[in-house]
Symmetry: C2
Subunit: 234 residues, 2 copies
């Protein structure tokens, strides 16, 4: 837990996280000393909806999904958190229970800062509060966009927007366009945008036929024509 390697990882973790950008060396060291690390295997549950979380959790490696079970029995995926993202902020300030279940999509490392420690940090470094505020604004922005595109009745628009979203978050430049390592299965994508896996499958096949994307196996996609995805679909 406190070997020199994990410590170095901690520092890397802390410095990767936007909310700690701009901290002095000493402050950063203090943050690192407060961090508790943990690892999760694929499919492991990090937190369960309705449980009480003892702190703020920052993803330092890997990807997780945050979702709720709908009344119909589906999962509604709300967020995909990856390197540098954090969650658990609602519990930090208010004494709310977690409002979603978080599950690892792959092997994942996290850092946790306990509630009391964060409060302490917050008091001595008001800038961190500002950073958190900004990050929450970003998340609001993300959700507003998601709501707009899901509220949109056009299924194509939803698919396009989720592909662009993934390209933005996980895309790598590639000779033919943008290569995405998909964080979710077809079913996962379906649960993200409120469709069935079959429909997602069909629509993605269509996009491939049209030469807009190219599937590489099932877990990778190359976006060949990004502009086409941005076009308004009626």
């Amino acid at each position: 837990m406190s070997s020199s390697c994990s410590r170095c990882c901690d520092e890397k973790c802390a410095s990767k996280v936007p909310i700690f950008f701009g901290l002095s060396q000493e402050d950063l060291k203090r943050v690192v000393s407060l961090i508790v690390r943990k690892e999760y295997e694929k499919d492991e549950i990090l937190v369960l909806k309705g449980s009480n979380l003892e702190g703020l959790i920052i993803v330092s490696k890997g990807r997780v999904k945050a979702f709720r079970d709908t009344l119909e029995g589906r999962e509604q995926i709300l967020y995909i958190f990856s390197e540098g993202d954090f969650f658990g902020e609602k519990n930090l300030l208010q004494n709310r229970d977690v409002t979603y279940t978080v599950q690892a999509l792959e092997k994942t490392h996290i850092c946790m800062i306990k509630k009391v420690d964060f409060h302490q940090l917050f008091r001595t470094n008001p800038d961190i509060g500002l950073k958190v505020l900004q990050e929450l604004c970003n998340r609001l922005y993300h959700l507003e966009n998601a709501l707009e595109s899901i509220g949109s009745r056009s299924v194509e628009a939803r698919i396009n927007s989720v592909l662009l979203d993934f390209a933005h978050k996980f895309g790598q430049t590639h000779p033919q366009g943008i290569m995405i390592e998909l964080p979710l299965s077809r079913e996962g994508i379906a649960n993200y945008i409120g469709l069935t896996r079959e429909t997602v499958s069909r629509k993605m096949s269509l996009l491939q036929e049209e030469g807009i994307i190219k599937m590489v196996g099932h877990k990778k996609v190359i976006i060949l024509n990004k502009e086409a995805l941005d076009q308004p679909v009626i």
Copy 2:
């Protein structure tokens, strides 16, 4: 603008707003001195998507809707803000343009605090930052719920959840149940939950036939059986 009446209204305004709860008398007075008031008639636009907003806007009387125009030409309503709610926070901290258009649903009074003034206030009263943080968490919570219910394919679930939402925000106790003064027309409700006005109409008629709600004119609804709306709908 600074007659004794409007001043008294200002104080009422400031004290009604959760983010100013817990301020000392002097601080409250300072806030009041910074407030600029404005009034809007029904249907007037308060801010236009993409424009730049000079400050934080607090609704002190009336109701407004925040929406975006979708690619399909529909409005996607994101929020209904009423007494005590604020918006414009994204512009306050980051230099983002407004991400939605805000329009008055009825005659509305607002208070505005300029960006610089707010920053000043923020520096001398860090607690306000915490309050804003909490409020943003609430809004995240609201959007997550909205996403869950819109993402849900069940149309009934969407209608039920918007009715419960309105009951929570605008409901008055009534001998027969909860009376709601609807902030939106059928079309508005449809735009809120991603349906058509006809479907909203049909489903609400159904709910009335089942004895779960009762419509009073077109603008009021009494919820007779709140529990039924909470039931999982397949």
